[in-house]
Amino acid sequence: MNFSTPDGTVQAVKGIDLDIRAGETLAVVGESGSGKSQTMMGIMGLLAGNGTVSGSAKYRGQELVGLPPKALNAVRGAKITMIFQEPMTSLDPLYTIGRQVAEPIVHHRGGSFKQARQRVLELLELVGIPDPARRIDSYPHELSGGQRQRVMIAMALANEPDILIADEPTTALDVTIQAQILDLLRSLQARFGMAIVLITHDLGIVKHFANHVAVMRRGEVVETGTTAEIFEAPKAEYTRMLLDAEPSGRKPSPPDNAPIMLEGKNVTVDYALGGGLFSGKSGTFRAIDDVTLRLKQGQTIGIVGESGSGKSTLGRALLRLVPSGGHYRFERTDISGFDRSAMRPLRKQLQLVFQDPYGSLSPRQTVGEIVTEGLYVHEPQLSRADRDKRAIEALKEVGLDPASRNRYPHEFSGGQRQRIAIARAIILKPKIVILDEPTSALDRSVQGQVIDLLRDLQKAHGLSYIFISHDLSVVKAMSDYVIVMKDGKIVEEGETDAIFDAPKAIYTQTLMGAAFTA
């Protein structure tokens, strides 16, 4: 499978062999860029315009590669169906879900949309959409991410396919929803006997879900085998590396007498709802409800919770970046009433690293400029040479070649970009760093490296971290104290081991149970 690009032809997938039999689940695992999705897209004739496929993909003896569009359309959507990673955007926002589920039925079996309606209702019921008779006329934006993925599954099942290709079906969903969707797929498979090809990067899911595993790397299959073989006796070195990349280790608690660096007492954050000039309706939404938190020197507090639980907002409130109520103390200073300009000198000590290493670095600045920008504000007396020296030190510290400071962010990988973002924070020699999902956009093996780096920096500089993440295994490896949040409130908090080994709150237990730890 090749892609022609302005830089020449890129071979994305280099000749791979995979077989799948009825009723079986084959997991295709690999890190980003390994070609696992592209393989399936190629078979389904869904490659981008510059992609070409060669070789052979047979469905019940029928060759799919090079099939004319009409004949291919008779197979896809009927015998082989797909669900995608992005439940939020995979459905057409301009049509009701009922019509969209009906579309493949009408096209492959004939009949009218009216006749298909009864079948659509059954399907929506089957995939667990609550109150399908009412929901059938909803538009996608009225449904949650998990519900949209259920609608996609309904669409995939509509023509009773032989093969269901699930491309990272749960990556964009919260862990509890992820567990529900996987359970649903498993029960539907038992009922209809279709084969499932599961494309994923998450080994935890693979272990609980698949019969067979194919490990891919750079367009090649490095190892195939039954799930038990792969997990218990991996042959390829790369497979072993993937399995070991699960974050491990623990962080000891700081001494009891360690000084408190940052304190937020009874933090509340309200957002105004609606309130446009003519819309009339308005109200407030309480994003953070009476949360109290104390961060000691050298401590890492992990904040876990699902999307919408308020964990990122809490981080911003603690840094006084959003209007919020409550009392705040930084070291010995009461910063509750501080406005923007009063906070500015303190910002040097309080740094923030964001989730998205692609969006949070300006594409028009060199790495050197990005890293040193904060120095202009906080240490304006530095000369150009001094700034350069500091940039070199910071880049060395995060494990990047200092010579790269004249290059632009797009020349770096995701993991390297996150290192640049960390260098930008530590060059100011801060005391507290808030890490907002710093590893979520990265592959497992890269995640491990970034976590090691963060731990080393903490030790070297006595930093205090607030580590925000939905990924429980990362939180477990990084923090010594954990706060579990739901709907803006603290559900449970305590030492990391206590939370993970003996969770008390029901919500924490659900969260732990839903996370398949490999």
Binding site: M82, L94, H107
Partner: protein, 280 residues
């Protein structure tokens, strides 16, 4: 929905009021007047004329009279066509402009969307480049060039169509002015459609539609086109306005009688006369 439309319409009132006010004062503060001719009129005649048109009153009084009359649809007498009022001139010319503009809008919309869709589906092909090159020409060449060229080719050289006039209002007379008027807008629609179509074709839900074996026609028309039409729809309003104002030039070129063109050109005639008076 209805109240939303009403509110939007109501918000146009203050805007209109401000525009009217500004243009009133701009016209009054510009040097010269409607009766400054190459050879100055005798002072007594001038004074009489000014009195007839109430131009001798203080400017505030003129403004108040003008606004109160305008609200009732009375725009006063024409300074150029002295037997007609402005309202009469508009009443005569507007139907021609409206009819021509309406046809031009249809041609621009249908032709532009079609061309843009074809270009998007064959992105970066020779056909795409051809359509986009032609539409660049369409946007850049003004219609007072396109008009005469069309007349030259289709009316004079080939004698297929009449060179001008309204005739009996039949299609034969309308085709050339319609094309001259529609071409720049057609090009804009083609570019807008191409851009948003390409974007729409790359969305995740189009991939879903293709993965479910829907025929290409359904994918493009039912799913991609519907999403891609948004920018096109929002351009419809400025386009309609541009066609109505642009028709003045085209109507003059194709000598459509009694059209709104005469009306639009009236102020500029006054300005030209004034500048002649200054230079002589």
């Amino acid at each position: 929905m209805f109240s939303f439309v009403l509110r939007r319409l109501a918000s146009a009132v203050p805007t209109l009021f401000i525009v009217v006010t500004i243009s009133f004062f701009l016209m009054r503060f510009a040097p010269g007047g409607p009766f400054n001719l190459e050879r100055p009129l005798p002072p007594q005649t001038m004074a009489n004329l000014m009195a007839t048109y109430q131009l001798d009153k203080p400017i505030w009084t003129q403004y108040v009279t003008y606004i109160t009359n305008a609200v009732t649809g009375d725009f006063g007498p024409s300074y150029i066509y002295k037997d007609n009022t402005v309202a009469e001139l508009i009443g005569k010319g507007l139907p021609y402009s409206l009819e021509l503009g309406f046809y031009a809008l249809i041609v621009a919309l249908v032709g532009g969307v079609l061309a843009g869709t074809v270009a998007a589906l064959r992105q970066n092909s020779l056909l795409d480049f051809a359509i986009m090159s032609i539409s660049t020409v369409g946007v850049t060449v003004p219609n007072f060039v396109v008009g005469p060229v069309l007349t030259l080719v289709f009316a004079i050289m080939l004698s297929w169509l009449p060179a001008g006039g309204w005739g009996d209002g039949s299609l034969r007379f309308l085709i050339l002015p319609m094309i001259a008027l529609a071409l720049p807008q057609l090009a804009v629609f083609a570019r807008l459609t191409r851009g948003s179509m390409i974007e729409a074709l790359h969305t995740d839900h189009i991939r879903t539609a293709r993965a479910y074996g829907l025929p290409a026609r359904t994918v493009v028309i039912t799913h991609a086109m519907r999403a891609a039409m948004l920018p096109v729809v929002s351009y419809l309003a400025p386009c309609a306005a541009a066609l109505l104002t642009g028709s003045a030039v085209v109507e003059t070129i194709f000598t459509i009688p009694e059209s709104a063109a005469t009306l639009c050109l009236a102020p500029s005639t006054a300005i030209i006369r004034w500048s002649w008076a200054q230079s002589s």
